[in-house]
């Protein structure tokens, strides 16, 4: 967006009626995906340009709140499309005023879309969130870490005389050991998933129990191996960690096309 751009009056018809864009796929003919769109089951279809297609549904020009209902609707369309196509997901809530504007998007970003579609061909994403149970991890550290165990025994034995500083020292030791343990778990898990995935990305953890919030890009043909590997790892750690495993998703975390969009008011 530059200040120099004049916002010329839209030449497109149908004021109030826009196109909600879910994703971009490669398909040179029009396609219908059923009445599954955002806003009580709008018809989902494609707007085509050369061999690219935007998957859209008609929508009033509104700003959609990212409520669970709306996000699930957006997501459900992408999941449906994903069964047959490699797709580039659009960010939630993206609306164009008209079919012409959608075609302008496909035309002006044609090369970038094509490159990314090639790169993402037959790849899917899985989400892996790992949470730990602090008490269990502390208990396991007290069992396995000699220094912590010794200090703890000492404090327990001399409960009356044990100083504030001894307790503080224990606290510090435990904190450091926890951080070390968390890194060890996370590195080990990444290491074990390396040969069944193409790439991974770590996102910010949510809340204070989470130690890993990652996305993995996986070849479709490796889906099963990845699946089995995750199950094996979660068994290995079942006493300490809780695994939240989701997918397959469109490659949300591995596509980063900066679209030059401006507000169409």
């Amino acid at each position: 967006m530059t200040a120099a751009e004049s916002v010329s009056a839209s030449t497109d018809p149908a004021p109030g009626e826009g196109k909600y864009v879910y994703c971009i796929i490669r398909n040179d003919r029009s396609r219908e995906f059923g009445e599954i769109g955002i806003g009580s089951g709008a018809r989902v279809y494609t707007v085509n340009h050369k061999d690219l297609a935007a998957v859209v549904s008609d929508t009033p020009i509104v700003i959609y709140d990212p409520t669970r209902e709306n996000v699930l609707a957006h997501e459900f369309v992408n999941e449906t499309v994903m069964r047959e196509f490699t797709l580039i997901p659009m960010s939630f809530g993206t609306i164009f005023r008209s079919e012409n504007d959608v075609q302008a998007l496909l035309n002006s970003t044609y090369q970038a879309f094509t490159d990314v579609l090639d790169k993402m061909k037959d790849k899917i994403e899985f989400g892996l969130k790992i949470l730990w149970d602090r008490d269990k991890v502390v208990a396991s550290l007290e069992r396995d870490n000699d220094e912590i165990r010794r200090l703890k025994d000492e404090i327990t034995r001399n409960a009356a005389s044990s100083t504030y500083f001894a307790r503080m020292q224990l606290g510090r030791l435990v904190e450091a050991a926890m951080e070390e343990a968390s890194n060890r778990y996370v590195n080990d898990i990444h290491e074990q998933l390396k040969d069944v995935s193409v790439a991974s990305r770590s996102n910010k953890v949510i809340g204070d129990r989470m130690i890993l919030n990652a996305a993995f890009l996986v070849e479709r043909r490796d889906e099963r191996s990845f699946d089995e590997r995750v199950k094996a790892i979660s068994l290995q750690y079942e006493d300490l960690l809780t695994f939240k495993y989701t997918g397959p998703w469109p490659p949300y975390n591995f596509v980063n096309i900066k679209l030059k969009l401006e507000k169409a008011t």
Partner: protein, 100 residues
């Protein structure tokens, strides 16, 4: 006279300058806070996590989701007021030299 005035008024001028500077700074801090939706989005993700972990029930989720949506809308309004970009809503390809 100039020097004396400064000395005499210093205790008064000082704090006034100080206050102005502080107000500007507060203004900026407040503005940053009003227009940043990151904490709201983080709250939304945390809420979702709580539902997934069974820490809250559906009714609780819906109630708190509504609060978060309200906060998101407020941030959006502030961003619009300050002329900042917002996500969602109608967009089009920005016109540039190479467009058709």
């Amino acid at each position: 006279m100039g020097l004396l005035t400064n000395i005499l008024l210093a205790p008064f001028l000082g704090p006034v300058w100080g206050t102005q500077w502080t107000l500007e700074k507060i203004d900026r801090v407040v503005r940053d806070e009003l227009t940043d939706d990151t904490p709201v989005k983080e709250d939304l993700m945390a809420l979702q996590m709580q539902l997934e972990m069974g820490e809250i029930d559906d009714a609780e989720y819906v109630r708190r989701e509504a609060e978060i949506m309200k906060r998101l809308r407020e941030v959006r309004e502030w961003r619009e007021k300050f002329g900042m970009s917002t996500s969602g809503g109608p967009v089009r390809i920005a016109e540039s030299g190479e467009s058709e």
